[in-house]
Symmetry: C2
Subunit: 323 residues, 2 copies
């Protein structure tokens, strides 16, 4: 048997990533995995690639990184209202590091188990640290929540709170100072996002359009507006934020909530007569949802404050090639 430091590609797949599958017909270990959606169901598929320095910092615990790598993919399923089924993992590692692999796989598989989403295949190789997950969900054909479904005069909602992950990033960058329990709170938001899978499922046939907030609330909302060919007015003071964030100057609160990035909440639209169903869905999913504005037929995104005054910003969306 190889010593821990000489574990090869096949050994480490076997040791850390091979588990019995219950739903798939065939899991890790052959040229392909085999599975099928249940009859009448459609597959929702999403791929996300995470790179050190772009999507996570070198300071993150391996267990949290494993969690986050899957969480950001589950968040895409949530935004479509799909039930997680399975995923593949491709992993490039600078070297075989068993401490890293043990923590990473523990965090990854714990979240996978929590959502009944099984690891069915993938790849490992030597190279600069890179994590690529492709996730599969299922949903009845024709029920997916899409970016293109918003209508004029829909209400706009966001789940949970936004902005904490960006605040944590700024603390790591050294531009802000937050300590103790407050720092732990925002660090957890950055490193351990909770994908809103239950909310996405509950919003099927209730919401008209949806997207997950990964690149910043306004930037991601704009994808809905563009695809749906509508405009919107958002009350920037109504955007939900944590007590920790409320301690910051207003300008920073606005920047982090509106254009922070890495939030993995859902922003979605629903007709006004769906308001009670939206709140019922939120209660069922165990997460708050807050109305932050309304769509309109006229294109463009207008921002107002609590007093109804126009707010000017030039917040763009996070771009992985520009920030």
């Amino acid at each position: 048997m190889p010593s821990p430091t000489s574990l090869g590609e096949f050994d480490l797949i076997q040791k850390y990533f091979t588990r019995a599958v219950t739903r798939a017909a065939l899991g890790v270990g052959d040229d392909c995995a085999l599975f099928a959606p249940r009859p009448g169901m459609q597959l929702a598929v999403s791929s996300d690639m995470l790179v050190e320095g772009r999507h996570f910092l070198s300071t993150v615990l391996p267990e949290r990184l494993g969690h986050k790598a899957l969480a950001v993919n589950l968040s895409d399923l949530a935004a479509c209202g799909a039930q997680p089924v399975a995923f593949t993992l491709a992993l490039a590692l600078p070297r075989v590091d068993e401490v890293f692999l043990a923590g990473f796989s523990r965090g990854l598989l714990a979240l996978a188990d929590a959502h009944g989403c099984e690891l069915i295949g993938g790849d490992t190789t030597q190279g600069p640290l890179n994590i690529c997950i492709t996730v599969f969900g299922e949903l009845p054909a024709g029920t997916a929540l899409l970016r293109s479904g918003a209508q004029a005069n829909d209400d706009i909602y966001v789940s949970g709170t936004v902005g904490d992950a960006r605040l944590a990033l700024e603390v790591f960058r050294g531009t802000l100072d937050v300590q103790g329990a407050d720092f732990n709170t925002v660090r957890l938001a950055m490193e351990c996002p909770q994908p809103r899978v239950a909310l996405g499922l509950a919003l099927r046939n209730v919401a008209s359009g949806a997207i997950d907030v990964s690149d910043g609330l306004l930037g991601d909302l704009k994808h809905i507006l563009r695809r749906s060919n509508v405009g919107a007015t958002v009350n920037v003071d109504s955007v939900p934020r944590s007590q920790v964030l409320r301690a910051l100057p207003t300008a920073l609160q606005r920047e982090f909530t509106l254009a922070g990035g890495d939030d993995y909440e859902l922003v979605f639209t629903a007709a006004p007569n769906r308001a009670s169903q939206v709140q019922a869905a939120a209660q069922q999913a165990g997460v708050a949802v807050t109305r932050i504005g309304q769509t309109q037929a006229l294109p463009g995104l207008n921002l107002i404050d609590a007093a109804g005054r126009k707010v000017e910003t030039n917040f763009g969306s996070f771009d992985h090639f520009k920030t």
Copy 2:
């Protein structure tokens, strides 16, 4: 409109990777892609991650790299006998390089079109060059060619020729000198492998077990033997090789054909009474297949030469963490 050097993430996805889908219900551009296998069909899924210096050299033309990135994934579908349907692409790039992207997407999409395999989603980000493709094929439930299906006394076959890709790699490494048309031949084998999709499809219900040769013929054959709980005897002189490879000393021919890696041919097993069906499948697919040995009940892999003498080697399988 942004200048070429300021193309952002969304622009470059739009410009190089967004095309209408014909088979999927929804392609690139939302949180998830949506599709379903045809009724009664199972999905075969495989992910491969390609890293510079491990899976390709910096000297490769972008167009060939695009081809190869998809080819190695289609080769996994071929090994299962699955019909390609769709794929996702996740791409980390050091910078937005339009010359690279134009060539890469051209090579990628040309091979995709040749196999009716449509790009339905993915991700782009800034980072060390990394290409991760997840490919989806379909096949009637229960017909997949598996590593575990070989029986004792089956014939062992390999498609095409093996060893040229490794010869090309050694030329690039400077350990061997091959020039002119001969170099182009072996370089093409390394940079533009042709996935044996048609052969895999034709071998359904004919072959008993199969795998694609990516890490070296013997190493990959051993996966079949281990999974099928059988042994084998292989005649090393019968392993098919190109005229270019035949010009090398016998020891190098053996090393490159038996443990070269990067071949993307199929090695498979079939009962002796299937021999004529195997040849018919090869003819249908337009690729030669050569019988190179036989499985046996007794575990272990024995190598013999054309005269029936025992051959000793210590060729292992290519390991992405060890070579």
